[in-house]
């Protein structure tokens, strides 16, 4: 590929266009669900969940290997394993916070690091197995968008429709839950179930985003667009729309850049694009940016 403009204008051929479009969808739905967790001030749970997928990926690989499917690299096994172990991790955080004296942040930190450790131990065993296909597993850590298959692109598109539908359907409930959970309970909303739906949608984004940006950096796709959008708007609907635009744009641009400069790893390129947007918004954002800051103003919900 010799021209960045051509890549951006979808002149790079089918495979590249597919990658760009999936990146765009992924960025959009991560940004949308991220808004609620950002407003809830509970974004670090995403960090715990994304690291908690690792032992599931290792176990899924070993199971597929034992069953003799494609040398272990069976996407369905890896995906279901990742999802299951992240659910276990989320339940672990909740159990620790409720049933022991440990605080929420120590619960997150211990689940994150111990699940990750379990994954690393499994990976270190797998690496010594004399199996050619295990090299692909490393991509789950830092992301590798270039080798994307058609079915992965389809799954990401389907997921973005589900996330979009879920967020539109439950928009008011998610908002209520994010701003004031007690009030939501008083209104008789099924908060426990809504909480699970919200976490489930985020988990879907995490699991499908793993191979694209990697588990260390998927957190940024969830939190950064919301934080950037918050510098431009104090109202929830414009903020969500803006967040989706930013997430989609940054993923599209970052994926194109990393296809253009062959050495640039996709995940970190996308995040550096987001970082540039954040710095710009931090200074020029009309809502909370440095140039427009009102002295002593106190904003609700930030």
């Amino acid at each position: 590929m010799d021209d960045l403009g051509a890549i951006l204008l979808l002149q790079g051929g089918f495979a590249l266009n597919m990658v760009l479009f999936s990146a765009l969808c992924l960025g959009a739905c991560a940004a949308l669900i991220g808004v609620f967790f950002y407003l809830r001030k509970d974004i670090l749970i995403a960090d715990a969940l994304s690291h908690a997928t690792l032992p599931g990926i290792g176990a899924g690989f070993l199971l597929a290997l034992a069953l003799g499917i494609n040398g272990g690299m069976a996407p369905a096994f890896l995906l279901i394993g990742a999802f299951a172990s992240a659910v276990l991790g989320g339940a672990g955080v909740q159990w620790i916070t409720r049933h022991t004296r440990l605080s929420h942040d120590s619960a997150i930190a211990s689940v994150l690091s111990v699940f990750y450790a379990a994954g690393i131990v499994l990976f270190s065993g797998i690496q010594r197995l004399d199996n050619a296909s295990q090299a692909g597993l490393n991509h789950f850590l830092l992301g590798q968008i270039a080798g994307m298959q058609v079915h992965e692109a389809f799954m990401i598109c389907a997921l973005s429709i589900i996330v979009l539908g879920g967020c539109v359907l439950y928009f008011r409930d998610f908002l209520l839950l994010s701003f004031d959970q007690t009030y939501a309970q008083c209104l008789g909303r099924p908060t426990t179930r809504l909480d699970k739906i919200m976490l489930g949608l985020m988990l879907g984004v995490i699991c499908l985003g793993l191979k694209t940006v990697g588990l260390v950096l998927i957190l940024a796709l969830l939190v950064m667009p919301a934080a950037i959008a918050r510098f431009w708007s104090a109202r929830i609907v414009p903020m969500s729309l803006l967040s989706v635009l930013i997430g989609a744009g940054a993923c599209y641009g970052g994926a194109a850049l990393s296809a253009f400069y062959k050495n640039a790893p996709t995940g970190s390129t996308i995040i550096l694009v987001l970082a540039a947007m954040l710095v710009f918004s931090f200074v020029f954002g009309v809502q909370k940016g440095l140039l427009f800051m009102k002295r002593g103003a106190n904003y609700v919900g930030s």
Binding site: K41, S106, A117, A118, I120, V121, N138, S268, L272
Partner: protein, 292 residues
């Protein structure tokens, strides 16, 4: 007489593991009681670009340069978190999440673009931890002891001295920081010093334990000890003992258990140590005397 392989391979790895676990579990207590454990995660991620930039500027990874680069990066990260929280009014969890991902992404980006393969510094070490790669060359004297063990040992001693001489002040700051300030012992200065010490320890653990696994070393011993007792003296003592013993047990489990089971390879030592710490924490959360 200990055999040659043990002295050359196992002894330095064990030393590194024990020193890392001891210093992390001591300092972890401070983060734990201030409910800032995730700050430790943010700091360890931001050590990474500091090391890469120090390497790019200096052309080597000599310890003074490493510690300087990493401390500068961590200082930038702390300032960025603070700036986002105060001037940008970003919630503090989100500020940490943003800064840690930007810094880590910057490290990965620079490393993949500029440094290339064949250097001691690489992303795999940061992610996996490579405790078993430490090596003590032949005469087994102080002079031939690897430099990173010496520097981590020095930091550990500094740590123990800190807890030994400033115990009363630490207790005051953890449980009544306003009074500590009024009594003339500034919490801000003390916490900045502790954060600096944590940064240096994180740099010391960087390539042996790894960026993410080190979080288990920070939080798990403190959380385990919290399930056992209600007094700070006991808490610190228990967490140190748990850290050391799990480091030894975990290393033996990683390198020897697979052999006993008839498999001629070993597992990731740093990973197994973190996992045993986690399993101990689960056990104590279920049956510890002070779990609720």
């Amino acid at each position: 007489m200990l055999d040659h392989d043990f002295m050359a391979l196992d002894a330095p790895a064990l030393m590194l593991g024990v020193l890392a676990a001891l210093s992390c579990s001591l300092l972890g207590n401070i983060l734990f009681f201030r409910r800032q454990v995730m700050l430790g995660d943010a700091l360890s991620h931001s050590v990474f670009p500091g090391l890469v930039i120090a390497y790019l500027l200096g052309g080597s990874l000599a310890p003074p340069l490493m510690f300087l680069g990493a401390s500068a990066a961590v200082l930038c990260a702390l300032l960025a978190i603070r700036l986002l929280e105060t001037a940008g009014r970003v919630p503090s969890s989100a500020a940490m999440a943003i800064v840690l991902s930007i810094f880590f992404a910057l490290g990965v980006f620079l490393l993949e673009n500029q440094v290339g393969g064949g250097v001691h510094l690489d992303t795999e070490h940061a992610l996996y931890g490579a405790l078993e790669l430490s090596y003590w060359p032949e005469p087994f004297t102080w002079a031939s002891l690897p430099l990173n063990i010496k520097s981590l040992g020095f930091l550990t001693i500094l740590n123990i001295l800190l807890f030994f001489f400033f115990f009363k002040e630490i207790r005051l700051i953890l449980f009544n920081s306003e009074y500590a300030g009024l009594a003339g012992f500034s919490p801000q200065i003390f916490i900045s010093g502790v954060l600096l010490l944590i940064t240096l320890v994180l740099v010391g653990c960087f390539d042996s334990v790894g960026v993410i696994l080190v979080l288990a070393f920070l939080v798990c011993p403190a959380a385990c000890a919290r399930m056992l007792c209600d007094r700070l003296e006991q808490q610190i003592l228990y967490s140190a003992v748990i850290g050391i013993s799990m480091a030894v047990f975990g290393y033996i489990a990683a390198t020897r258990f697979p052999l006993w089971l008839g498999w001629e390879h070993s597992l990731s030592a740093a990973g197994v140590i973190a996992l045993t710490l986690g399993l101990l924490q689960v056990t104590l959360m279920l049956w510890g005397p002070r779990r609720i």
